[in-house]
Amino acid sequence: MAEDLEDLYENAPCGYASLGPDGRIVKSNLTLSQWTGFSQEALLGKRLRELVNTSGAIFYETHFAPLLRMQGFFNEVALDLVTIDGATLPVLVSAAERRDAYGDLLFTRVTIFQAAERRRYERELVEAKREAERGLAAERTASELREQFVAILGHDLRNPLAAIDAGINLLQRRGFDDRAPDLLAHMRRSGSRMQELINNVLDLTRSRLGGGIPLKKEECSITPVMAQVIEELRIAHPESEFAVNLNATEPVDCDQGRIGQLLSNLLGNALHHGAKNRPIRVVAVTEEGRFTLSVANEGDPIRPEIMERLFLPFYRGEARSSAEGLGLGLYIASEIARAHDGELSVTSDQSGTVFTFTMPTARTAAPDGVG
């Protein structure tokens, strides 16, 4: 049996529509009617854009109609047909102009293919690409962090380790003589220093990758832990003067250890950057439902460009001596503040630098203690 061209047109496995020079349908096939639900008579006189959704119509008018006019065709344009029931039918549309010998437009012939499967597949590809990009971004962050760790471990743990190593050498050479206890105390301090560095790095990991510094909050009197931290630092820095006014009388719902750590970090910063021989002032109060702790030191003001990055990890305002630490102290202090629904702020001018931590004394609406 010979192929019936009329039937091929009407029942082709694709939709056909021919547009007159004015862009209106002058002929279409049965397949298109079956897909859209509009009879062939109903389609006569319609424009292509009337058969697609609004965004498709805007694409068509702003992108595909100009392309068609400029190059005489367009291929594989993704559009959504809207059927007579209002359902959406994803299709791919190709079109070609047919012009006469004088270049005048006779028809624009349009071929329409169903593309639901392909569209789904392509959307999955797009989604998979986004997923991969998200994964890559997270991986980059983690990788940067790892690199920072390596730098820290290589740089900051080396000095105390070298001190311990030197101590062991001395002990081996000299045996346990009367200078040994001092030497061991010195080595122990180096060990503590390393322990502190490792704890800081772990805190950083938790705050960066684990959604905040973990807290063990309970309602408590906050003064003893602060007094203890200050006492420890007095012993470690007998040359420094501390002016202390601890007047936090109300109980505070907090993680005591962390508040102690915050104060220790602020004091460490003040000891290092403040003017020598000038007192460091510590004031703590509870009033009107808030606990406020401030640490003030005298000395040169913090420069504005340093101020901006002060609470970022691994930032050190100045070239530093090897004993200074990781540049994590203020970052961790601010993370502890954040975990307590509080905030840590700083002001700095000629009269000195003041770090102020403030937080609600009672548990706030947010039930999680992680922040």
Binding site: R69, Q71, G72, F73, R119
Partner: protein, 262 residues
């Protein structure tokens, strides 16, 4: 990079006065291929691509600057300053009609006349004002830009790659027009369809010709009439052309109307 290279500015023609053409959303200066050459005898003609479109420098795309039509208008003024334009004719299609309005307000001495083809000061309906689209429809458009790359990049790609069956269509031709970065196209769509410049119309001192197509779903006749009503020295020519791009579908009509006006 010079602004000439940044905006892919091309200059032709030999007239004393300058006519500068600004393309709309969705294409580039190729939009003017049937219109601009007709004015070369009487005008110095200037074509350019908005940053983000065509052969503009995509690296110059600054989302903050181009987060409002004013950013594009600033570019038009900067090009005008570079070329020393005074008393020029600005021809703007689609969203570039409003970009021209903003540029003419910013630099009144630069543009003596504006030709606005398919202008709309606001695409979204607002009370009695009928922009032609509901908020929901524009949101659908913008959402489809977000989650359906296909209508923009992937679907454009086969076209951009050229048609092996029609080698007479040079590689350069198929590669250059309507080339668009999908991310930038998204933002341009947002800026275009969320824009509201109704209050700027009254500030225009230039002579204005509005070219209005029939059956333009993007900028209806009612919107064209609104523009004419609110720009003091303005007149409208209704074209027989239909659709949103008469500069391509009916260039002769567009050329004739501009000639009569200038």
């Amino acid at each position: 990079m010079s602004i000439i290279a940044r905006n892919n500015v091309t200059i032709a023609g030999s007239g004393l006065r300058t006519m500068i053409f600004a393309h709309g959303f969705g294409c580039d200066q190729n939009m003017w291929r049937f219109v601009e050459p007709e004015f070369r005898e009487d005008f110095r003609t200037v074509l350019f691509d908005h940053v983000g479109a065509g052969k503009s420098d995509l690296s110059a795309y600054d989302p903050a600057k181009y987060g409002a039509l004013q950013g594009y208008a600033d570019d038009v003024v900067a090009i005008g300053e570079k070329l020393g334009l005074r008393g020029a004719v600005f021809v703007g299609h689609s969203v570039s009609a409003m970009i021209g309005v903003l540029a003419a307000i910013e630099a009144p001495e630069m543009f003596e006349s504006l030709v606005l083809i398919g202008p709309s000061p606001r695409y979204i309906d607002d009370g009695d004002y009928k922009g032609g689209f509901t908020v929901a429809q524009i949101e659908e458009l913008l959402a489809s830009l977000d989650d359906n790359h296909l209508g923009w990049s992937a679907a454009m790609a086969p076209v951009i790659m050229g048609n092996p069956n029609q080698p007479e269509l040079g590689e350069e031709l198929t590669n250059s027009f309507c080339r668009t970065d999908p991310e930038i196209a998204k933002q341009f769509a947002r800026v275009t369809f969320m824009s509201d410049n109704r209050h700027d119309l009254g500030k225009v001192n230039a002579r204005v010709l509005i070219l209005q197509c029939k059956e333009d779903i993007i900028a209806s006749e009612a919107v064209g009439a609104y523009v004419q009503k609110h720009i003091p020295d303005s007149q409208t020519v209704i074209l027989d052309a239909t659709g949103h791009c008469p500069n391509l579908s009916a260039p002769a009509e567009v050329i004739a109307a501009i000639r009569r006006f200038v």
